[in-house]
């Protein structure tokens, strides 16, 4: 019996070791596959980053990663672009517009979202449906009437057409996002505040807004990325070279009409232009994930 027990415990231990080994091997295999996929996906980005550090005439010489010679000339030339203005001005223009758009959307969309989620007013569902309907309106159908309107009031070639609408809750997607989040908050919290005599504004500002932080961060991140990367709006409303933004200026490195392109300068400035978006995303990653996960947008 003792021998049998020893045998049993040995075979059990061996069985456990085998299972552990299999589990480890499976883990290693899965990780190996993921690492290969990651390298395959990141290769073009890594190639672009390293190509920005090689002489322009070497860039299309091959697909190898490591440059034969290293240079920061692409960054110097790219930053200068046409000399006056430099890319510093384009970055500043982009940051100003993106920052104002973020502030505008946070204020206006959260207020509109609170109204739709918690207040009662006539034809609320009709207004809500109309608001959602604007998401389905193609941008090309709105472009010419909007342009003519902004031209008539003298806003073309200013940042106002790109910024002011954000303060008027025109991004229906973010309002919807806020509404969904605010509806998930316990109504008892607000009811308690009502008993304490809190006004609408106090309930919105002191109770709802702090609890809506994940949705606010989601709105801020997406608004920043969307505005920072917007090409068409900034192309048509900011016409002077001096008021150009990063996405519009990046297009000037390439010349499909037959002129000389500057791919090295383009790669260098693309690397720099990715940094703010990446930084903003990484800084708010935790809240962003929470914000998305709690609103059914999985």
């Amino acid at each position: 019996m003792v021998t049998d027990r020893r045998l049993d415990s040995r075979s059990l231990a061996a069985h456990r070791r085998t299972r552990k080994l299999r589990r480890n091997l499976r883990g290693i295999g899965l990780h190996a596959i993921l690492i290969v996929l990651l390298i395959a996906m990141l290769y073009p980005v890594i190639w672009m980053v390293l190509s920005s550090l090689r002489p322009e005439d070497e860039i299309f010489g091959g697909l190898g990663l490591i440059p034969k010679s290293w240079t920061i000339e692409n960054y110097v030339k790219g930053w200068q672009l046409s000399g006056n203005p430099t890319f510093a001005a384009f970055f500043i223009n982009s940051f100003i517009i993106s920052a104002l758009a973020v502030v505008g959307n946070l204020i206006s969309c959260s207020m509109a979202g609170y109204a739709f989620a918690r207040l009662h007013f006539p034809f609320k569902w009709l207004w809500f449906a109309l608001m959602l309907g604007t998401i389905m309106l193609p941008i090309h159908a709105q472009m010419i009437p909007q342009y003519i309107f902004f031209l008539k009031i003298g806003w073309v070639n200013t940042i106002l057409p790109l910024v002011v609408p954000k303060f008027l809750a025109t991004d229906a997607f973010y309002i919807f996002l806020m509404v969904q989040f605010m509806r998930s908050l316990p109504a008892e919290l607000e009811q308690a505040a009502v008993l304490d005599g809190a006004s609408y504004w106090q309930r919105y500002w002191r109770i709802i807004l702090p609890l809506t932080m994940p949705a606010l961060v989601t709105t801020a991140v997406f608004t920043f990325i969307h505005t920072y990367n917007d090409f068409l709006g900034q192309l048509i409303y900011l016409t002077d070279v001096k008021s150009m933004t990063v996405p519009v200026a990046l297009r000037l490195f390439l010349d499909p009409s037959g002129g000389q392109s500057s791919v090295g300068g383009l790669f260098a400035m693309v690397v720099l232009s990715i940094a703010p978006v990446l930084g903003f995303f990484l800084a708010s990653q935790r809240l962003l994930t929470k914000g998305i996960a709690t609103q059914g947008f999985k």
């Binding site: 299309f60 192309l235 048509i236 519009v248 390439l254 499909p256 009409s257 002129g259 000389q260």
Partner: protein, 438 residues
């Protein structure tokens, strides 16, 4: 009373009076435009290198005209036309804009662009030395002049001269034919470096197709509608299908990738093909890339081949137009800028026929004789002079250039990938082009 009813002395007096009127009154009209001052906007297409050149020219202009300031608007090709279309819809076209005759029909309307005929007649706008053909290609369907051409472009091919000479073959003459092209490419097939092909499949290339049509005696457009026959288009597709099946051209997938590629990534500039369709004004830009990738190799240009009806070259023009809603007080400054860009020697020297040979004959001479002018620029000017007398400029209806390019591209791809027959593709091209002129 008719002029023929007058006696000789009276007729002479009227003729002298008329000559006096032309030589004194019209320049007076030009002078009466008003002072050259104010802030004008100039909008142009092009990348960084053209922006640098344009900026230098603007600085020179401002130095010559201290009362004028110029706001610079610059976009690359596609966004430029998107923006201009939107500006036109809102009557907000800048005072001076770069225009091209292939897009002119879309904008040639007195409510969008200012008709320039009166200013040319008065001498306010200087068109001295600009060929009549280029001026004619700058007119709208209503006959009015809407742009002043500053450069011209024509259809051609770029080829690797070094590979040709290594193969023991000679550069064809500029009046070579489509059959010569076939023979040359067949001979080059086995003599290009490993991994390269003799030619890019040019069946989808707009410029080469219109050369084929006109060199076979057809018109591309007539009265604003498609005028070439289905048979001519079918022959075009079959011409390239034969070369593709013989292994002379690139494969369909490479053809799609290569079509319209940037110079820096193109097969011709990277030594992966012997010949491709490219306007000759791009020779220098291609040479610069191949100098780095395959040092010592030399590229060269030829016009598009001729056919039974001779050369089929379409000569297009780039120019400057004035927005119809430019304020009257800014018209003198706009005209001064237009004259400076098209006629000033210093401006032409800076721009270097970058968009095609400069139109003014005097400036062409200066660029040919200047030691500073590159080989590519000289070659394209000399080639333009050879083909210009036989050129057949096309009056492109509104949106026709883009539609034709799309129709050829989509339908020939279907043929090359074996999805449809040539006849089916031809029918589909005509269906796709049916909206032109409607």
């Amino acid at each position: 009373m008719k002029l023929t009813d007058l006696n000789g002395a009276a007729a002479r007096r009227i003729a002298v009076a008329a000559a006096l009127l032309i030589t004194t009154a019209l320049p007076a009209l030009a002078d009466s435009l008003g002072p050259v001052e104010g802030e004008i906007t100039f909008s142009w297409f092009g990348g960084q290198s053209r922006a640098d050149k344009t900026h230098r020219i603007i600085e020179l202009f401002k130095a010559d005209n201290p009362g004028v300031s110029v706001v610079e608007q610059n976009s690359d090709w596609d966004p430029y036309w998107q923006k201009l279309t939107l500006q036109a819809s809102a009557n907000n076209i800048p005072c001076t804009v770069m225009m091209q005759n292939r897009w002119l029909a879309t904008f040639a309307d007195p409510n969008i662009l200012l008709p320039l005929d009166d200013y040319v007649a008065s001498g306010a706008i200087d068109v001295k030395g600009i060929p009549e053909s280029a001026m004619n290609s700058s007119r709208g369907a209503d006959g009015h002049l809407y742009q002043i051409p500053s450069s011209v472009f024509f259809n051609g091919v770029i080829f690797n001269r070094t590979w040709l000479e290594k193969a023991g073959l000679k550069v064809p003459p500029s009046n070579w034919t489509w059959d010569d092209m076939t023979n040359l490419l067949e001979q080059m097939k086995g003599k290009v470096p490993e991994g390269a092909v003799a030619a890019h499949n040019m069946a989808m290339e707009n410029d080469m197709f219109v050369s084929w049509v006109q060199s076979h005696g057809d018109k591309v457009f007539d009265n604003g509608k498609v005028a070439f026959s289905k048979a001519t288009l079918a022959q075009w597709f079959e011409y390239w299908e034969k070369l593709r099946k013989d292994g002379v051209t690139d494969t369909p997938d490479v053809m799609v990738e290569e079509n319209g590629s940037l110079i820096e990534t193109s097969d011709i500039a990277n030594g992966r093909t012997f010949m491709t369709a490219r306007p000759p004004n791009r020779l220098d830009s291609h040479q610069k890339v191949i100098d780095a990738v395959r040092p010592g190799e030399q590229l060269a240009v030829l016009p598009a081949p001729a056919g039974p009806a001779g050369g089929g070259w379409d000569v297009g023009s780039n120019g400057i137009a004035i927005g119809a809603h430019c304020p009257a007080n800014l018209i003198p400054a706009s005209i001064a800028w237009l004259n400076f860009f098209t006629q000033d020697s210093r401006a032409a020297k800076i721009y270097e026929s970058d968009l095609g040979p400069v139109t003014v004959d005097r400036l062409q001479e200066e660029q040919i004789s200047s030691p500073d002018t590159s080989r590519g620029q000289k070659d394209q000017i000399l080639m333009f002079r050879q083909i210009a007398p036989q050129a057949k400029p096309i009056l492109w209806p509104a949106n026709s250039s883009g539609l034709l390019a799309q129709a050829l591209s989509r339908n020939y791809q279907a043929v090359a990938f074996g999805q449809v027959s040539v006849d089916e593709a031809v029918d589909q091209v005509f269906a796709d082009l049916s909206s032109i002129g409607n």
